[in-house]
Assembly symmetry: C2
Homo-oligomer: 198 residues x 2
């Protein structure tokens, strides 16, 4: 006996979620069968809704429920600063941290030759367009501190060097609340290089 068709179909969909294998998908499907009907319908609606309501902001590439996203359309933000991040979740991380009032540009990926991802797969043309409009004075590279993130950041910095803008990148260093002896050596070296006068 195989699974009931309706169950099989749900397991199939659940298996497409990140880090969900066949076994977890089965466990989830059985849990869903045991949920209140209202919760399942709400889940189903939330899925449909997320694709219907959320699209990409044509200016910065971040997710938005409005035509232009909340940040791009907020005229209290400092439009002279542009932070370049790889993913929408990085914007959320910075917005949650507060302390940055400039604008963002979401590349929506990284350059990853081994996975066949080049600059043409990133939200890059619109970045150049924003820079050529001339308001931006500083571009802050905030790609992830990984090999692919760094490569992407360096590539973009290179492409922007002929424009009259300051290009900076986030500091590498110790994590707040972290312990020196639990910090990897590369980070330690970077923290040393980036030391500042007290």
């Amino acid at each position: 006996m195989a699974y009931l068709k309706a169950l099989e179909r749900l397991i199939e969909s659940l298996s497409k979620l990140p880090s969900v294998g066949k076994k977890s998908a089965e466990r989830m499907a059985f849990a869903i069968l045991n949920m209140d009907e209202d919760d399942v319908l709400e889940f189903s609606e939330a899925l449909k809704n997320v694709k219907e309501k959320i699209h990409t902001c044509p200016i910065c590439g971040n997710y938005s429920e409005e035509e232009i996203c909340e940040i791009c359309s907020d005229n209290t933000r400092d439009t002279s600063k542009l932070m370049i991040v790889s993913y929408p979740k990085d914007v959320i991380a910075f917005e949650t941290a507060e302390g940055y009032k400039g604008l963002y540009h979401v590349l929506n990926g990284v350059i990853a030759p081994t996975r066949g991802k080049g600059i043409e797969d990133l939200n890059f043309t619109s970045l150049i367009k924003r820079i050529e409009e001339g308001n931006i004075k500083e571009v802050i590279i905030a790609t992830n501190p990984t090999v692919e993130g760094e490569t992407t950041g360096l590539y973009i910095a290179k492409k922007l060097e002929n424009y009259d803008i300051e290009i900076t990148r986030l500091a590498y260093g110790l994590q707040m609340g972290g312990a020196l002896d639990y910090t990897d050596s590369l980070t330690l070296v970077r923290a040393l290089e980036g030391r500042r006068k007290l």
Copy 2:
């Protein structure tokens, strides 16, 4: 900035899945945003469908897409044998393994006093009804080999002792393909107790 409302709603639903915390739910929600629209709509439909189409078989308590489940309505099965399991997934495990052609009864849980679960929360009245109908000659207790599963099995065996039926339980022993030195001591003792003549 908080998440977009549609995203927040989806994260909320995903967090209700077993072993999915806030962070995994967020990661899943972002993956869903990156999925093809068709895949997301299919997922949404599959969820709605699973609750609409699947209900509990009134005879055995297993999940079914028909009024009476596939197994209860299959007249090639041996109606003199009844295997008692805790969950629908246990039926699937046995059906996948093949080799059993009797009927099942799904309790849909275990007796777990610490979680306030008693016999009245299980699919037990319908079990007695089936047994009183008189066809069943053997009841095979196949609850999980856990404390709660064993307790439930013993309780049911006790309740059935006044009926003229044979009550058996699954053998405990070594796992096929397993290694002796990786088998826990309780299982080793049970395997020894259950030894058979060659």
